[in-house]
Amino acid sequence: MNTPEKRYWLDKSGNVNRLVYGLYALCTVLILLDFLYHKHTNFPFENWFGFFAWFGFIACVALVLLAKQMRKIVKRNEEYYGDH
C-alpha cells in the first residue's frame, strides 16, 4: 500500500484487553447486585445466588464443547454434496 493505513483504536491489543477487563468488571458488578435487591421470581431456584449468571456461563461453555464434539460426526468437506 502506498499510503499507510489509518490505525484503529481496536488495532492495539492493549485496547482489546481494556474491553475484556471492562467486561470482567461489569460481570462482577452484576453478580454482586444479587445481594442488594429482592428478586420477583416464578421458580424458587431463580433466587439462588447469581443463578442467571452461572446458568448463562455454564450453558454457553457446554454449548460450545458439545458443538465441538458434534463436528466429529457431522463435519464433511465442502465438496461433500458436489454442489460447490
Binding site: 489509518k6 484503529y8 481496536l10 475484556v20 467486561l23 470482567y24 461489569l26 460481570c27 452484576l30 453478580i31 447486585l33 444479587d34 435487591y37 428478586k39 420477583h40 421470581t41 416464578n42 421458580f43 431463580e46 447469581g50 443463578f51 442467571f52 449468571a53 452461572w54 446458568f55 448463562g56 456461563f57 455454564i58 450453558a59 454457553c60 461453555v61 454449548l63 460450545v64 464443547l65 458439545l66 458443538a67 465441538k68 458434534m70 463436528r71 457431522v74 463435519k75 464433511r76 468437506n77 465442502e78 461433500y80 454434496y81 454442489d83 460447490h84
Partner: protein, 564 residues
Amino acid sequence: MITNLNPALILVLGPLLIPVLKGNVRTVYTLLLPVLSFVQLYTLPAGSHAEVEVFDLTLMTLHMDRLSFMFAVIFHIAAFIATVYSLHLRDSLQQAIGLVYAGCALGVVLAGDLVTLFIYWEAAAVSSVFLIWARRTPSSYRAGMRYLIIQVISGFLLLAGIILHARAGGSIEFTRLDLNSPGGLLIFLAFGIKCAFPLLHSWLVDAYPEATETGTVVLSAFTTKMAVYALATAFPGTEILIWIGLIMTAFPIFYAVIENDLRRVLTYSMINQLGFMVVGVGIGTELALNGTAAHAFADILFKGLLFMSMGAVLLRTGKINGSDLGGLYKSMPYTTGFCIIGAASISAFPLFSAFVTKSMIMEAAAHEGLTLAWLVMLFASAGVFHHAGIKIPFFAFFAHDSGIRCKEAPVSMLIAMALAAAVSMCIGIFPQTLYALLPYQTEYEPFTFTHVITQLQLLLFSALAFTWLLRQGIYPPELHSVNIDADWLYRKPGAWLARQTLKSVASGEKGIFISIKKLSFEAAARLHRHHGPQGLLAKTWPTGSMVLWVAFLLGVYLIFYYLY
C-alpha cells in the same frame, strides 16, 4: 379506499407492471405498492369480506381479526423495507417477484377459508423460488429445486388435509382445527414443514443461504411467519407444539456454533426463534399467544436486519464464510453498527426488541408451571446471544483482520437497514406501541428491575464464556466445511436410491426388479433417454425431472380427489 378489495391483490398483481417501467418511475411505483396496499388494509373493517362463489363453495377470501391484522401490518413493513433494500438492483424481476411473494403471504394471513389459504400458500411457494434461482449459480439452481419440491409437498399435504377435513363434515372456514382427525393432522404437517419443525426444517437451512443478497432478506420475513400465523389460528394450545418448539429452540444453536456460512448461521437462528413462537402457540394462553405474535413481529425486523447486513457484506466482498471475513468494521462502519443493533435485538438486551417480546412467552411458560420448558428456553436464550448476537458481528466485522477493504454498502441498503433498526429499537424502547396491536388485552410489564438485571446477568456471563473460550483457544475455529443435517437423507441415500431404482429398471436387471421392469419398461426407457446414460434423476435435478415430480404430485392429487 375500495370496498372489499383484498390488499394482497395489490401486491400480487401490481408488480406485473414493474418490468416495463424504467428509472425513477419504476422506483417510485415499486415503493408505492406496499404503501397503497397498507392504506387499503388500514381502511378495511374487521370481519369477513369479499365472498366468492366457486362451484358449490363459498370462499371468504378476506377475513380480518386482530391476529391477522398484526401479521398483515408487519408483512407490509417488511415488504417496504425489503423493497428499499433492493433498489440498487437492475434486475427488476427480483423486485417484482419479492412483492408478489409478499402479497401471497399477505393473502395467507388474510384468508378466511382453507381453499383461499391453499391457493396463496402454493403461490407463495412457487413465487419465492425465483428469489433463490435469481442468484443464477448451479448450486442455487439445485437448492431451489429441492426447496420447490418440499414446498409443493407441503401444499399437497395441505390440500389433502383440507379435502379430508371437508369430507368429514368440517366447514372450510379457516379456524381452530382438530389435530386428532386425519384431515387436521395433514394440515398440521403442512404447516409444520413451512414452520421448519425438526426434521422437516432442512429446506430452510439448505435453500435460504443460496438465494441472492436481497432474496434471503425477503424470504426470511414471510414463509415461516405465515406458518406461525396458521398454527396460532388453527392449533393454539396443542400441547405437542410445546415439545416441538423446545426442540426447535435448542438443536439449531449447536449447528450455528460450528457453521461457517454466516447466512446459514442466521437460518439456524431463525429456527431457534421460530421455536419460541411455536412454544407460545403450544401453551396457548392469552399471554403466550400475545408473546408469539409480538415475537414474530419483532423477529421479522431484527432477522431481516441481520440478513440485510450479511447481504451487504456478501455484495461488497463476494464472501460470506466466517473463515474468509473479519475486520470489515474498517470498511463498512455503518453496516457494522446496524448489524450490532440487530444482534442486540435478537439477543434480547434491555431496550432492544426481543427483551419485550420473547419474555412474554417465557413468562407464560412460568405461569403454567412448565419448569423444564422454561429452563430449555433460558438455555436457548443464552445460546442465541452466543451464536447470533456475538458470532455474526464478531466474525464478519471484527475477529482477525482479513485484509479485505471494500466500499460501504449502497445507500439504499443503508437506508433499509436504518429503517429496520429504527422500528426495532422503537419496539424495544416503547413496547406499548407494539402491545397496542396484540390480539388479547393482557397486563405485561417488561421493565421490572428483576427482569433487567437477570437478563443482563444471563447475557454478559454468556459473553464472558465466549471471551474466555476464545482466549483459551477452546472456541472451535471457523472452517471450510459442510455439516450434515436432515437434508442429508434425501441428498445422499435418497438420491442414491432414486438412481439405483432407475438404473435397475432401465437396464433390466434380473431379480426383484423384473416385474417392475415389465410394468414400466417403456416409461423408464423414455426417462433413460431423456436423462442420459445413467439416468441421473436425483443427481442433477434437471427441469424435466421437476416437471415429472409435479406431474406425479398432480396425479396423486387427482387420485385423492376421487377417493374422497
